[in-house]
């Protein structure tokens, strides 16, 4: 069973539909005991860092995600806001985050070389695979994925970045550390390439 963490944000159902399409059993849940019992855990969604962390705290899920999922070695996937709250802190709402991967989250520049940069980034961008990771199995390098974000993660350890992307700056589009994996792009909205990565995550042995 794959637990999709319900922290009262949008976009959870689209991840569920994608997993069901791929034939993986899953459940949207906010109950700590179900998340502890799950084989794998996905933290998806769109939203703001501050509200996401507030909701996770109110649901008593912060320690569950830190200890019973990340530290316990359970395969964990964060998507979009789910990558941003993995780091120590976010400039968005000055939020203290989960601290599962050391680093911080900052906003895209408003302009680049004098030209205004549209923020949020909305659309398909090319993802360069920085190193081989089994989640990319069958996915060509430089494939486009769908992004919707105003902020991006900067992990302290550059080797945590498994894929990078350019939008005004070069940023970490996907990070990994042991059993913890996260993407800034929406796997559930990125066509067959996104589905393939979701499927890979669901089959990975960490």
């Amino acid at each position: 069973m794959i637990a999709i963490v319900d922290y009262k944000a949008g976009n959870l159902a689209s991840v569920k539909r994608a997993l069901e399409y791929l034939g993986h059993e899953c459940e949207i849940t906010d109950r700590p005991e179900k998340i502890v019992a799950a084989d794998r855990v996905i933290l998806p969604g769109v939203g703001a860092a501050g509200a996401t962390m507030e909701n996770l705290r109110a649901l008593n899920l912060v320690d569950v995600l830190r200890n019973d999922v990340a530290r316990a070695g359970k395969p964990f996937l964060g998507i979009c806001i789910g990558i941003q709250v993995l780091l120590d802190r976010s400039e968005e709402d000055r939020a203290d985050c989960l601290g599962i991967i050391p680093g911080h989250v900052t906003r895209y520049p408003r302009s680049l070389d004098g030209c205004p940069l549209k923020v949020p980034q909305i659309g398909w961008n090319r993802v360069r695979q920085a190193r081989r990771h089994p989640v990319f199995t069958g996915v060509p390098d430089n494939t486009h994925f769908y992004f919707v974000n105003s902020y991006y993660p900067i992990p302290d350890d550059p080797s945590a970045t498994i894929a990078s992307c350019d939008y005004g700056v070069t940023f970490a589009a996907a990070v990994a550390k042991g059993n913890v994996l996260a993407t800034q792009f929406h796997l559930e909205k990125s066509g067959s390439a996104g589905l393939k990565m979701l499927d890979n995550f669901c089959r990975l042995n960490f």
């Binding site: 949008g10 159902a13 689209s14 539909r17 994608a18 069901e20 399409y21 791929l22 034939g23 769109v46 939203g47 408003r110 205004p116 940069l117 549209k118 923020v119 949020p120 980034q121 909305i122 659309g123 398909w124 961008n125 090319r126 069958g138 996915v139 060509p140 494939t143 486009h144 769908y146 992004f147 919707v148 350019d166 939008y167 559930e188 909205k189 990125s190 066509g191 067959s192 390439a193 996104g194 589905l195 393939k196 499927d199």
Partner: protein
């Protein structure tokens, strides 16, 4: 670099697509789910459904369409047409649409934009507007006026001012449809698109007038559009999406190479 998006638009009435696709075989051209799947497989970057159902009683049919599309299409899609309240928007998003497109409803009640952005996030809210060149005058300094109700009703709002107002209220994207160009195949209104795109800091989608691949190129280069709506140019098979994309690519426009990855047996 972010790719320019090509977005086919499907008009749906009572659960059926109204403009057929002549060239399709083995596809029920009236079935929005089959047509969406077709465009998804062709490499569309996003899909827009425009609900032109006239009667309120039959609007639930569109939600069934949205649910069915969401089960098998894994790219973003939006739904517009007749959305007037927060509940209308919520129903469409819960059914599985990534975004809602609001138009006349937002003109009548601008607070709908702000309420939608607060409730669902700006990225869910596309402010769409029908624009007509009605001549420069004090209340319409650009000469481009927003019209509603299928273009029949002038609003006295300048399209540029309304775009800025929409952005301020929290719209995540703007879709600018030129009524003057719609259906003409003369190309997008580049002046209109560019003026708005230069003024706002959210993505701008050009709409109305595409008849040739060069029209898309021009919308992205001269018009500074971030995305372009296509309808008859793709619906009647003259220029399928893969052809549009290879044309744009050879003209130096950053586009998404659609990949189809075998997901194995499911």
């Amino acid at each position: 670099m972010l790719a320019k998006r090509i977005i086919p638009c499907l008009d749906v009435r009572d659960g059926q697509v109204t403009k057929g696709i002549r060239f399709l075989e083995n596809v029920d051209v009236g079935d929005p789910v089959a047509m969406a799947r077709y465009y998804y497989e062709q490499g569309a970057d996003e899909i827009v459904f425009y609900d032109i159902t006239a009667s309120n009683e039959r609007r639930g049919i569109m939600l069934d369409v949205v649910r069915a599309v969401a089960r098998e299409i894994f790219i973003p899609f939006s739904v517009g047409g007749g959305l007037r309240t927060l509940d209308d928007m919520r129903a469409v998003l819960l059914a599985g649409a990534e975004k809602v497109s609001i138009d006349s409803g937002a003109v009548r009640s601008p607070n709908l934009i702000a309420a939608g952005a607060r409730a669902f996030g700006s990225q869910c809210v596309v402010l769409s507007m029908q624009v007509k060149n009605t001549g420069v005058r004090p209340e319409i300094p650009t000469g481009y006026e927003v019209v509603i109700d299928g273009g029949r009703q002038p609003t006295g709002r300048d399209a540029l001012a309304w775009s800025l107002e929409g952005e301020r209220l929290g719209a995540g994207e703007l879709c600018i449809n030129s009524i003057d160009r719609d259906g003409t195949k003369l190309g997008y209104d580049l002046d209109l698109t560019r003026r708005i795109s230069e003024a706002v800091s959210i993505p701008v989608i050009a709409s109305g007038g595409a008849g040739e691949p060069a029209h898309l190129r021009d919308a992205f280069t001269h018009g500074l559009a971030d995305a372009a709506i296509v309808a008859s140019i793709v619906h009647y098979g003259e220029h399928p999406i893969p052809e549009l994309k290879s044309y744009l690519k050879s003209n130096g426009v950053e586009i998404r190479d659609a990949v189809t990855i075998d997901l194995g047996a499911r």
